[in-house]
Symmetry: C2
Subunit: 338 residues, 2 copies
Amino acid sequence: MSNPIVVEVMRGARVESHHRGAGAVVDADGAVAVRFGEIDEPVFPRSAVKALQSLPLVESGAVYALRLSEAEIALACASHSGAAAHVETATAMLAKAGLDAASLACGAHWPVGEDASRALARAGQAPSSLHNNCSGKHAGFLCLACASGWEPRGYEHAEHPVQRAVKAAIEDVTGAAHGEDVCATDGCSIPTYAVPLRALARGFARLATGVGQAPRRAAAARRIFAAVAANPAMVAGEGRFDTEVMRLFGPRVFVKTGAEGVYCAALPELGLGLAVKADDGATRAAQAMIATLICGLLPVDGDDRARLGPFAAPVLRNWNGVAVGSLRPAGPLQAPLA
Amino acid sequence: MSNPIVVEVMRGARVESHHRGAGAVVDADGAVAVRFGEIDEPVFPRSAVKALQSLPLVESGAVYALRLSEAEIALACASHSGAAAHVETATAMLAKAGLDAASLACGAHWPVGEDASRALARAGQAPSSLHNNCSGKHAGFLCLACASGWEPRGYEHAEHPVQRAVKAAIEDVTGAAHGEDVCATDGCSIPTYAVPLRALARGFARLATGVGQAPRRAAAARRIFAAVAANPAMVAGEGRFDTEVMRLFGPRVFVKTGAEGVYCAALPELGLGLAVKADDGATRAAQAMIATLICGLLPVDGDDRARLGPFAAPVLRNWNGVAVGSLRPAGPLQAPLA
C-alpha cells in the first residue's frame, strides 16, 4: 500500500511533480485528531527531535551548572544556518564547558544558509565544525558530559553516557523502543533511531502539555519550548520556515525540521503534537504538509493566516520573478480537518 | 495507478526514503526496449531537451555564419555550473552576434556549481545572467535570431520566430503535439512543452541514428552530439554526472539532466533513446535511474562499469566521511533488462 499524494507541484496548469507522504496529529493520551498514510512504521526523525535530544542537558541541571542562556538552549535544539550569531553562540557554549571547536564530532560543512555561506567565502574563510548546522546540539552534548563529570571524548557514540541518556529520554517520551533494528547513523555522526509518526506526534503532545511527565521532565520541556520561542532565529535562521513561523506565533507553535522530509511540531494550546514525513525525503513537501496542518488546526486571525499561507502553498517564481507555478496541498491535505 | 518505486534511499539497514518514477528506452522506429511506469502522459522535459532546442541554431546555418566553435555549440546545450569557462564562452557567443549580457532574458542566479558560486563570492562579485545555467542556450537563441535577421528582443516568448522554430523542431523530432494545453514557462522564461517519455526517448533515438530525419537535421544532430562529446565540461561542470559520464564514454553516451527529476539520454551504438522522470522531481532519483539504465544497456568493460556504478548506487557519507547509507535501484530497476 502506498501513502497518498499530499502535495502537488504545479507548472502552469499542469501537475509537474507530486509528493506522497504520511502524517499524524495526536494528543497526549494518544487520541488521533488527523492521520493520513502509514503512521505506525518507524521513520528516522533526524533533526526533528533535537528538542527531545536536549532534554538531558536541561533536566540533568547542566544548563544551570554551566549557566547556559536561553539563546544557548535554543541553539542546542537548532539546525542553524551557520550565520555569525550561531557560530558565536556555539563557541560560547563550548567555552562554558571549558572546551572549544576541536571537541566537536559533527564534522565541518559550508553553512546551510546561503547568505552565511557566501559571507564566509567572501571573507576568504573555510567552514569549521562550528558552522555545521548541528554544532549547537553537539555543544549541548559536550556541556552535558562536562557538567556530569563524564569524559567528553566519544560523546557521539551510542554507548557513551550522553547518547544513552538521550536515547532513554526519547524512548520514554515517545514510548517507542529504540532497539538496534531501528538504529542508524545521522549526518552529524550520532545515532538516529526510527520512530513511528504516531509516537513522535504523541511525544511532542506530551512534552507540550506535561501530561504523563515527571515534574522534572515537564519543567525541562517548558524551559526548552520557552527558550526556542524566545529565540526563533537561533533554531534555524533568517527567512527559514521554522524561524519565521515561530517568530510569527511565538510560544503558540513549536516546529522543527529534520532531514529527508520530516517535520515535528507542537500546538500547546490545543494539546496536540504533529509529525509528518515525505516518502521521497523532500523538505519542500514536508514543509507544505506541516504548514497546511498548522494552518488548519490553529485558530488564527486573517493576517496571520495570510502570512502562514504562502508556506503551505508557495508560489514558484523563475529567475525573472515571474510566477511559473506553485505547490498545493492535495488529497487528504486539501481538507485536513474534514 | 501509481508509478513503481525505482530508487530506495538506505540509512543503515533501513529504507529511509524512496522515489517512484517512470522510464522508457525506445529505438528510432518506436520499439520499446525497456519501460516502467506511465510513459504516455506528457511530462515537462525542461532542460533535458536543450540539445533539441539547439537544432535550429545548427540547421539554420547560424553556427556557420557566426563561426561558432564546438565548445560554443556544446554550451548552447548546457545546464552549466557557472564557472569562469562557461561565462567566458557565453560572452564570446554573444559577441559573435554583436550583443552582450544585457540581451539575455534568462535572469541572474548564483552559479549552480558550488565551487563557482564560492569563487564568485570570494571575489566580492554578484552573479549576472551569464552565470545562469541556461546562459549558453540563451546565447544560442540570440545567435539564431541575429544570423536569421530577426529582431533579437523578445526571443524568449512563444510567438517569437526563435521559439517557433524550436517548437517546430521538437514537435517534429518527438512526434508529440506542442499545444497550448501542454505549455508552461520554464525557469529561464522560455516556453516548456510537456512531452510523453516514450516520445522523448524515441526522439533521442532518431537524432542519435538519423533514422527518419531529413539530411539537414541528421547532419545538425551529428554536429551537436559531436560537439557535446568533445566538450563534456561545457555541458554541466566538473564533478557533475553529465560531464563525468560523457567524459568517460565520449560519443558512446549522450546524457542531459532537466529540472524536476528528468533525464534524457541516447546510446548511438545501440540506436536507443532514453527518458526518465522521478514523480517527485528529485534529481538524485533521476540520476540513479538513468545511470542504472545506461549501466544495464551499454556493453562496457569492468573498469568503466566500476566508474559508472557509483552514480547508479551512490554511497551516502556524512560530514565525517563515514558511510551512513546509499541509494539503490529498486523494483523494475533491479534488473532493468530482464
